[in-house]
């Protein structure tokens, strides 16, 4: 599940040339409606198929999970943190996440024979 948080490089913040080149010029949303609109555009442009939820405008979930500007977690079936990436952008490592997720799935399997794993 993706959690949409504060803009990392809003036009009225630390604006990035890379975003400008890609046509992504966004002001930091000041209310939930505006943030949801940006999240919709993001979801459409990046063709995101997984559920994308939008954080409250006071960044409750973002701050609780220290998710800004980006971060990855794996939470196991006991509701415990099994993997926490370093802070993004440079700590954001999908390959490391994938290994952890495989580990969680192997740990949960009742026998060590897994025939098919849905990713």
């Amino acid at each position: 599940m993706a959690v949409y948080v504060r803009e990392a490089h809003a036009v009225d913040g630390a604006f990035s040339g890379n975003n400008e080149n890609a046509g992504i010029v966004v002001k930091q949303p000041r209310n939930l409606f505006d943030r949801t609109e940006v999240a919709k555009a993001c979801s459409a442009k990046l063709e995101i198929t997984m559920p994308l939820v939008v954080d409250t405008i006071d960044d409750r979930v973002g701050h609780a999970y220290s998710g800004m500007p980006d971060r990855l977690y794996v939470i196991d079936q006991q509701g415990t943190i099994a993997y926490k990436s370093g802070r993004g952008p440079f700590g954001f490592k999908p390959g490391e996440l994938e290994q952890s997720l495989i580990g969680v799935l192997l740990e949960q399997s009742s026998s060590s024979q897994i025939e098919k794993v849905q990713k």
């Binding site: 599940m1 993706a2 949409y4 948080v5 504060r6 803009e7 990392a8 490089h9 890609a22 992504i24 940006v38 919709k40 555009a41 979801s43 559920p51 994308l52 939820v53 939008v54 409250t56 006071d58 960044d59 409750r60 979930v61 973002g62 701050h63 609780a64 999970y65 220290s66 998710g67 800004m68 500007p69 980006d70 971060r71 990855l72 977690y73 794996v74 939470i75 196991d76 415990t80 943190i81 099994a82 993997y83 926490k84 802070r87 440079f90 700590g91 954001f92 390959g95 490391e96 996440l97 952890s100 495989i102 580990g103 799935l105 192997l106 740990e107 949960q108 060590s112 025939e115 794993v117």
Partner: protein
């Protein structure tokens, strides 16, 4: 015990302080993080001179390290700044203990006993065995560096940046490499690879002056670049929350999702 030490200790004891572990983060009755976040930054400000003094030996508040980096005018990139390694339960030691039956430091296909796709995924460098090297995600890992070079090359060819190189994009790149000729020669290919490799490590520790220091500071304090909180640690319980999806069609509650399978949380924004 001096005042600074006291403040340092009190700073470290406000991790989750503001969030009640029993209720949902998004309950209207749960407190907002805005004021506690400001408090954390104030404490980070008090600790920042210690970061400056102790340098790499400073193991305390990440927020203090972040503030110090921004104040110093240091660049923000891999290997610098505050991008700590990930933490995980299922590291090489875990896999070795569980699967390396003959304790030879290699986990073979037979030892893993799982679906072939999982083995292929874990044997990152395709050398036929899962080894400790396959778990190294630091910048020192040869695989990570090679992957970086490959990605940079990919982005040079993927002109529209959609993560897919189309036949026409490959054709355009061919023309670019070939120049006025009708073919690509070994020198052209070598120079392309060298270009991808050269971009690996920009020199110098200072930030480029494209964005003003005050803007970085504001971005830091408002939470654009990072939260002053640490977030849950490995092994801790994930705090529950309920948020609406971007299309407004559903409200997702975390605790319901991890009832029957593990959940991956991906935090990010468009920019």
């Amino acid at each position: 015990m001096n005042l600074r030490a006291l403040l340092a200790i009190s700073a470290l004891s406000v991790p989750f302080g503001w969030a009640n572990a029993q209720s949902s983060l998004t309950d209207p009755s749960s407190p907002s993080p805005t004021a506690p976040a400001a408090q954390r930054w104030a404490m980070a400000g008090l600790l920042a001179p210690w970061v400056e003094l102790w340098g790499d030996r400073f193991q305390g508040m990440e927020a203090a390290r972040m503030l110090n980096t921004i104040q110093r005018g240091d660049a923000l990139r891999a290997g610098l700044a505050w991008y700590d390694p990930g933490q995980r339960r299922h590291d090489w030691a875990w896999f070795a203990k569980r699967f390396d039956a003959d304790k030879n430091g290699l986990i073979g296909k037979k030892e893993l006993k799982a679906a072939p796709e999982l083995f292929a995924s874990l044997d990152r460098d395709r050398d036929g065995a899962i080894t400790e090297a396959d778990f190294d995600w630091s910048d020192k890992s040869p695989w990570v560096r090679q992957n970086g070079i490959s990605l940079r090359l990919f982005r040079m060819i993927d002109k529209n940046g959609n993560g897919k190189i189309s036949e026409s994009e490959m054709g355009e790149y061919f023309k670019k490499l070939a120049g006025e000729k009708e073919f690509v020669d070994p020198d052209n290919l070598r120079d392309a690879l060298l270009l991808a490799m050269a971009q690996e490590s920009p020199k110098g520790k200072s930030r480029a002056k494209k964005v003003a220091d005050e803007v970085w500071m504001k971005s830091l304090f408002e939470g654009d670049l990072g939260s002053p909180f640490d977030g849950p640690a490995l092994g801790q319980k994930a705090l529950d929350f309920t948020l609406a999806t971007q299309d407004g069609k559903a409200r997702m509650t975390l605790s319901r999702l991890h009832e029957d399978k593990p959940v991956v949380l991906i935090f990010g924004s468009f920019t």
